[in-house]
Amino acid sequence: MTTDITSSLAQYIAAQILQQPKRKIASDAPLISSGLIDSFHLVDLSLFVEKQFGVLLDDSELNKDTFDTLAQLAQLIRERQS
C-alpha cells in the first residue's frame, strides 16, 4: 500500500516536476531540503496528492519539517487515509 503511494509519488515528481520521467527517486532521498522540489512546485505536489489520494495537505504543511522524503510523505498520506 505505502509502496504503491511511494511509486506513484515518485513517478509524478520525476515526470511532472523534474521532467525527467526515467529518473529514479529513492524513498529516503531528501526532496525539499535538497532543493529538488522548490517552493513553486510544492503546491503542484499538494494538488496531486489531493486529487490522487483524496488527502488534503494544508499549505502550512508544505515544508521540510512536515515531510522531506517520499517515505515520509507516503506515511502522512496513509495516516490520513485511514
Binding site: Q19, S34, G35, D38, S39, H41, V43, D44, L47, D59
Partner: protein, 572 residues
C-alpha cells in the same frame, strides 16, 4: 514635504487611527496597523539605532522575515535618517554558508553602521562579519528585534527630520553575488517624483486598497506595494510571499475580503494563479473591486493574461483590469504604465521580421489571424517625467536613435533616477550614456508606446527575479568533475509557466551514464543551495559541445539556440 519622515510625522499627527497596513500571516488573525502604531513601532527602532550611535546617512541592513518588525525596522531606519536596505532572509533551500558569503559581500560593499535581525540569527550574522574582514572599529552594530519596543516619537530628536530631498533614503539590491554589488541608491526626491507621476497615471486615491504578496527586497514589492501606499495614504494588505506560493488562492481571498482595487504581479503569477488555485478555495470570492492588475517586472505575455482572465473572469474580474507596466529599480520603479485610461494595446507583428530584421512590422490585411503573428503587449506610454529612447550601438561605442518600430536598446532619462550604485561609481558610470540610463532591455516604440521584446544583457528573469548566469556557472564549476569555462547557463521560456526557466549545459569528460547522472544531480543541488534558483534541466554533454566566442568566452545565446535545436530534434 521633502522627506519620508516629514510625511510620516504629518500622518502621525493628522490621521493616527487610519489603517496603513493590514498584515496577513498564516495561522494568525490579520493585524491592522494604523499610522499611529506604524510611527510608534518605527520610532522604537529609530531610538534603538540612535542609542547604537547609528548616524543619519549611514546604511542599516535589515534581515527580517515578513512581519511587523520588518515594517517597523525599515521605517525606523528612515526616521533616524539612516538608509535601510532589506536583505532577503535565509530560505530553507539556500545553503547557510552561501548566504553568509552574500551577506559578507553586502557588508563589504555598503559598510553598514548596523544590522537588524532576530536573536536566533545572530550566529549567522557574526560568521558573515568575520568573513567580511572589516576592521573592528568599523564593524556594524547588531540590533536584535526582540529588544526593540514601540516608543512615542520625539520628532525634534529624530535624525530623519533633518534630512534633505537629495539625501539617499534607501538602497535596493538584486539577489546573488552580482546583484548584491549593485545597491541602487535612491534619494527622497527621486522617490517622491516617481510617486507623484506614477500615482497620477494610476489615478491612485485614498479609496484604493492595494493587495500584495511581493517580497520587500524587490522594487515592485518595495516601491509599488509598500512605500507608495504608505506615503500616499492608500491601505495596503500585505501577505508573505512564502504563504502565497503555497496557497495562491490567498491573494484572491484577500482581494475579495478587503475590496482590493490594485495588485502588482510578475507575469508568471498569472499562470501560477490560474493553474494552481483550488476551486473550493474560491468559494464566495468576488474580484469585481479590482480596477488594475498590473503585469510587471518580467516579460509580459498576452497568453498569461488571458489564462488569468479565463480562470477569474467569472469571479467578477474585468478584462479591462488587466494592465501592464515597465519598471526598474534604477528609475525608482515605473517607466511606463498601460491599461488605466484605455485597454492595453495589443500589437500584432510579423514574427520573422521581428526576430530576423529586428523590425516590428504590423500584420495587416486579410482580416484573418496569422499563425506567425506575435502578439506584443504594449507597456504603455512613459510617465510624463520619463523620456524613453530606443538606441543602436555604433562600432565606435557611441549610440544613435533608431526609427519607430525598430528594435534596439531602451534608454531612459527622468527626474527619478538612482543617485548611483552605492559605493560603486565605476558601475554607475558604465550604466549611463550621456546622461541616459542604458537599461539592457530591448524594445521598440510605436505610436508613443513602449514594447519590450527581450534583453541585451544575458540576465535571466525567473518569476520576476533577476538571475545572473555567471553566478550559476561559477557555482556549477565548483562541483567535482565540472570545469570552469565548460558550463553555460541561460533562460528558456516555458509558455505554460509564463516565465523563463534556467537550463545549464555542462561538458564532462566521463562517459559512464550513472556517473553523468550523479554529476547532474550534484550540480542541481549545489546550484540550488548556492543561489536559491531551481534548475529546470541540467544537460550533460561531451567535450567540445559548447560554442565559444573568439575570446574564448562561452556565448550563452548561441549555446541556448544549439540546446533548443537539439531538444527539438530529440522530440521528433
Amino acid at each position: 514635504m521633502n522627506t519620508f519622515s516629514e510625511v510620516l510625522r504629518q500622518y502621525y499627527l493628522t490621521c493616527p487611527d487610519r489603517v496603513s497596513v493590514v498584515l496577513m500571516q498564516s495561522k494568525v488573525p490579520d493585524e491592522p496597523i494604523t499610522y499611529g502604531a506604524l510611527v510608534r513601532g518605527a520610532a522604537g527602532y529609530a531610538q534603538a539605532l540612535a542609542r547604537a550611535d547609528v548616524r543619519p546617512g549611514e546604511v542599516v541592513i535589515v534581515i527580517l522575515q515578513h512581519g511587523s518588525d520588518l515594517i517597523y525596522a525599515f521605517w525606523g531606519a528612515v526616521l533616524q535618517g539612516a538608509v535601510p536596505s532589506i536583505m532577503p532572509f535565509l530560505t530553507e533551500k539556500l545553503a547557510p554558508e552561501r548566504y553568509r558569503q552574500d551577506l559578507a559581500a553586502l557588508i563589504q560593499t555598503t559598510h553598514p553602521a548596523a544590522l537588524i535581525t532576530y536573536p536566533e540569527f545572530l550566529p549567522e550574522v557574526h560568521r558573515a562579519m568575520t568573513s567580511a574582514s572589516t576592521a573592528a572599529d568599523e564593524a556594524p552594530r547588531i540590533l536584535v528585534c526582540t529588544d526593540v519596543q514601540p516608543a512615542e516619537p520625539d520628532f525634534e530628536a529624530l535624525g530623519g527630520l533633518h534630512r534633505t530631498g537629495n539625501d539617499i533614503v534607501l538602497l535596493q539590491h538584486s539577489s546573488g553575488t552580482t546583484g548584491l554589488q549593485k545597491g541602487v541608491a535612491l534619494s527622497h526626491r527621486a522617490v517622491f517624483n516617481q510617486l507623484e507621476y506614477y500615482s497620477a497615471a494610476l489615478h491612485l486615491s485614498p479609496q484604493d486598497v492595494i493587495v500584495s504578496w511581493l517580497p520587500l527586497y524587490h522594487d515592485m514589492g518595495l516601491i509599488a506595494s509598500f512605500v507608495m501606499p504608505l506615503l500616499r495614504q492608500v491601505m495596503l494588505v500585505l501577505m508573505s510571499p512564502f504563504d502565497w506560493v503555497r496557497a495562491p488562492a490567498r491573494l484572491m481571498q484577500a482581494i475579495s475580503h478587503y475590496g482590493g482595487t490594485l495588485t502588482w504581479l510578475p507575469n508568471f503569477a498569472y499562470n501560477f494563479c490560474a493553474q494552481k488555485t483550488r476551486e473550493h478555495d474560491l468559494d464566495g470570492v468576488c474580484l469585481d473591486s479590482l480596477r488594475a492588475v498590473v503585469n510587471c517586472s518580467e516579460p509580459t505575455y498576452h497568453s498569461s493574461q488571458q489564462a488569468f482572465l479565463q480562470r477569474f473572469g467569472r469571479l467578477g474580474l474585468r478584462a479591462g483590469a488587466l494592465t501592464t507596466c515597465y519598471a526598474m529599480a534604477e528609475n525608482v520603479f515605473a517607466v511606463t504604465q498601460a491599461g488605466i485610461d484605455a485597454p492595453v494595446t495589443l500589437d500584432e507583428v510579423d514574427q520573422r521580421a521581428l526576430l530576423v530584421d529586428r523590425i516590428a512590422t504590423p500584420v495587416t490585411g486579410e482580416g484573418t489571424a496569422r499563425s506567425d503573428a506575435m502578439k506584443m503587449l504594449s507597456a504603455g506610454r512613459p510617465l510624463p517625467n520619463v523620456q524613453v529612447r530606443v538606441l543602436e550601438a555604433l562600432p565606435d561605442g557611441a549610440y544613435q536613435d533608431l526609427p519607430e518600430r525598430h528594435v534596439g536598446e531602451i534608454a531612459i532619462h527622468s527626474d527619478c533616477m538612482l543617485t548611483g550604485y552605492y559605493n560603486r561609481p565605476d558601475l554607475t558610470e558604465k550604466a549611463f550614456y550621456q546622461g541616459w540610463y542604458l537599461t539592457g532591455d530591448l524594445g521598440y516604440l510605436a505610436a508613443g508606446e513602449v514594447y519590450v521584446t527581450g534583453r541585451r544583457k544575458d540576465l535571466i528573469i525567473v518569476g520576476g527575479k533577476n538571475i545572473y548566469p555567471q553566478d550559476l556557472e561559477r557555482l556549477a564549476s565548483e562541483v567535482p568533475g565540472v570545469h570552469p569555462g565548460r558550463v553555460v547557463a541561460f533562460g528558456v521560456m516555458n509558455d505554460a509557466a509564463g516565465t523563463e526557466e534556467v537550463v545549464m549545459v555542462v561538458e564532462v569528460d566521463v562517459e559512464d551514464e550513472d556517473e553523468r547522472l550523479r554529476i547532474g544531480d550534484a550540480i542541481r543541488q549545489h546550484v540550488t543551495r548556492g543561489s536559491d534558483v531551481a534548475l529546470r534541466h541540467v544537460y550533460i554533454v561531451d567535450a567540445r559541445w559548447l560554442l565559444k566566442t573568439s575570446s574564448g568566452k562561452t556565448a550563452r545565446l548561441a549555446n541556448r539556440d544549439k540546446y533548443l535545436a537539439e531538444m527539438a530534434q530529440n522530440a521528433t
